[in-house]
């Protein structure tokens, strides 16, 4: 393995498991880390090779490399995804992105063209904010209030949590502590990522996507209204809308069986 490859894999704490074809790259969304996929991985690993990693600034990634300019848009995260695909020399992987990371997957697929097999979007939204006829579900002031809520919740623990979140991937004892602090992140980064996530508008990018795409929606997803899925199916070039028999915004946690079944059916269809 080259140094550059090792660097990428360490930087994002990239994990590979499972056997089968094609390879699925699971990309966690805003608010958490790769452990969000822990319930679906056992259900998929006999059929697919599975890659998971932490977005920079989240989980066990090397947060010392978080750069507010690079990650000021999803493009920075998309470049990281391309780096991970290159480092593992993945051939036509299927990119599975949750929530905002469905957009990161879209940006990477647009960049890599036919080096990416297809895209699975779990509860995606190209824009959380309403624009004219487009219903995203939120107004700008709701997002500002969210940032305040984050501040209010990070007030107490930031100093005492700091040692745990400063862990480096090459020190396993730190990773241990990280898994114990599920979903915790450096407050400053979490706030920045929230801003990037909820203010982004990637409607043009999903419209430009030529890959086959599965748009998975749940009922009662407060983050993504039903209208968003309909908009995507109507405006994307090769998107199929699939409504899971599930509720909420995180079906891969709450409904791993339903979620993995839908991914498997789509991915196997692609492989054939």
């Amino acid at each position: 393995m080259t140094t550059a490859t090792t660097t990428v894999l360490q930087r994002h704490d990239v994990r590979t498991t499972g056997t089968g074809h094609p390879t699925l790259v699971l990309i966690h969304g805003y608010g958490c880390d790769k452990t969000m996929w822990d319930s679906v991985i056992p259900l998929l690993k006999d059929d697919f090779r599975i890659v998971t990693y932490d977005l920079l600034g989240c989980g066990a990634s090397d947060i010392s490399q978080y750069d507010k300019v690079r990650y000021g848009t999803l493009d920075g995260h998309a470049s990281d995804l391309v780096d991970v695909i290159d480092a593992l020399e993945l051939e036509q992987p299927i990119l599975v992105g949750h929530s905002v990371s469905a957009m990161t997957a879209t940006l990477a697929a647009n960049r890599l063209g036919d080096r990416v097999g297809a895209v699975v979007m779990v509860c995606p939204s190209p824009s959380f904010i309403n624009h004219d006829d487009y219903v995203g579900g939120f107004e700008t002031q709701d997002i500002d209030a969210l940032l305040e809520t984050l501040d209010a919740n990070y007030l107490g623990w930031s100093s005492e949590m700091a040692p745990a979140i400063m862990g480096t991937p090459d020190k396993p004892e730190h990773c241990e502590r990280l898994t114990n602090s599920f979903c915790q992140a450096d407050p400053d980064i979490a706030r920045h990522f929230a801003r990037v996530t909820f203010r982004a508008d990637h409607r043009a990018d999903v419209q430009a996507l030529t890959h086959d795409a599965l748009v998975m929606q749940c009922r009662d997803d407060v983050i993504v209204p039903e209208a968003v899925g309909l908009w995507m199916e109507r405006n994307m070039q090769a998107a199929k809308l699939f409504t899971l028999d599930a509720t909420g915004h995180c079906p891969h946690i709450s409904y791993p069986r339903e979620t993995s079944d839908a991914i498997r059916q789509f991915a196997k269809g692609q492989a054939g």
Binding site: F138, V222, T247, C250
Partner: protein
């Protein structure tokens, strides 16, 4: 068993997918709802503000499902009437034998005052961070000292200006570090401003201006001093330039008077008394043209074609049309430009009186002014054609001195004059090291 409706906390039991199953009276009241029945089966997040909904669904619910519990989450309830109530939420997942989640138990505590206080703390922390960032990123060196002048803080600009890191100088007297112990101020004195020679860590002198102000708290006690130090080396250099320029102006004025004196004397000697004012006036005018041009250029150097154009500006349109200019861009130092300008003016007035621009000339008479600049050698040629009856002047007046000996002496160049049958050819040549 305790009556849950009497507990001063909102108690909610939810299904594994966070839908409300039971809710106590306190929770109902806080959420602004009339009946528990209407809430049954509704998602818990529907009781929250829009921001709270995002936070609950992206953070709290995943955490409850994976970790099994959450604590002290600050959220806002939103009533149907639009009223908000700040709460803290604790949650616990109830698991079955296979580890599956059977229910979510949520408890909400009234948290309005504490959250207001925490938000105020947060605002103040942001303010404080803002000030810290302000000092850190200031382009001026900012030194924070205690009442005994010992350095407490030292920003990046101070490090850049003086070469010491904050750790190096912490606890030292700032005057020892920068001024070598010049102690001319006390903490109690009012704001103080001075200029000084400070020392860089390398020993190099740095001209600075500093401005110290006492840091006074709200009860009037002096906590220390804040000193802003500004590098004034550029300003000092600019002041030097101004001084040098002043001297130059005096020097040049004296030269100008000498030139004017020579022009006056020579004009008086060679012209009739009734012509004196006009001829002298024209020559002064040429001198003045040169000065205007000098002033309009930013440096003390001048471009040759602009200089020539300025000296031909007194000609009429028809006369100017007969003159052609041809040569590369050449920049002259001021002294040469001054005398060359006077010579060009003199040549043009001679051409008006006797040469290619006079009544003696043919209708197709021309003046060609051409120059080259090769290997540091300037060669300027004034060639008149189409003139009949050309003859050398009978005596050498001041005009011919301006185009000849005076020019040669003042600029260190050589002049050749040839009165050819078709018109005058005047040639000036000089080695120039200062061309731009």
């Amino acid at each position: 068993m305790h009556d849950p409706d009497l507990i001063p906390a909102g108690i909610v039991r939810c299904s594994p997918d966070a839908r409300i199953e039971t809710v106590n009276a306190t929770m109902l009241r806080w959420a602004g709802r009339e009946s528990a029945k209407a809430l049954l089966g509704r998602p818990f997040y529907s009781l929250l503000s829009p921001a709270g909904r995002i936070y609950f669904e992206t953070h709290i619910r995943p955490m409850l499902q994976v970790e099994g519990h959450v604590q002290e989450i600050a959220l806002e309830l939103l009533t149907p009437g639009g009223e908000r109530k700040r709460i803290y939420l604790n949650g616990q997942a109830e698991r079955g034998d296979a580890g599956e989640i059977k229910a979510l138990h949520l408890a909400c505590f009234s948290g309005g005052h504490r959250q207001s206080y925490e938000r105020e703390l947060l605002r103040q922390r942001r303010d404080a961070e803002g000030y810290v960032a302000l000092v850190k990123s200031s382009a001026d060196a900012i030194i924070n000292t205690d009442v005994d002048h010992r350095i407490v803080g030292w920003n990046a600009a101070a490090q850049a200006l003086f070469g010491h890191t904050e750790a190096d100088v912490k606890g030292q007297d700032w005057r020892d570090v920068l001024l070598g112990g010049a102690r001319d101020q006390s903490v109690d004195s009012a704001a103080l401003r001075a200029e000084a020679e400070a020392r860089h860590a390398s020993g190099e002198a740095v001209a600075v201006e500093y401005h110290s102000s006492p840091i006074v708290d709200s009860s009037g006690d002096t906590l220390g001093l804040v000193t802003v130090v500004r590098d004034i080396r550029q300003r000092r250099a600019a002041e030097e330039t101004i001084r040098a320029l002043n001297q130059e102006v005096v020097h040049r004025s004296k030269n100008q008077f000498a030139v004017i004196h020579a022009i006056a004397r020579s004009t008086a000697r060679h012209s009739k008394p009734e012509d004196f004012i006009e001829v002298f006036g024209n020559r002064l005018n040429a001198l003045s043209q040169n000065l205007s041009l000098l002033e309009s250029q930013s440096s003390s150097a001048l471009e040759l074609s602009a200089l020539i154009e300025a000296q031909l500006a007194h000609l009429g349109e028809e006369q100017r049309a007969r003159i052609s200019l041809d040569g590369p861009r050449v920049t002259l130092v001021e002294r040469i430009a001054l005398y060359l300008g006077l010579a060009i003016f003199e040549l043009s007035t001679n051409a008006l009186k006797y040469g290619a621009l006079s009544q003696h000339s043919a209708t197709d008479s021309q003046i060609k002014i051409s120059w080259s600049y090769v290997y540091g050698q300037l060669s300027l040629r004034w060639t008149e054609t189409g003139v009949s009856g050309v003859r050398a002047p009978s005596r050498a007046g001041f005009g011919s001195r301006l185009t000849g000996t005076l020019l040669e002496r003042s600029t260190g160049g050589t002049v050749e004059v040839d009165y050819r049958p078709g018109g005058l050819v005047w040639h000036y040549e000089r080695a120039m090291e200062e061309n731009a």
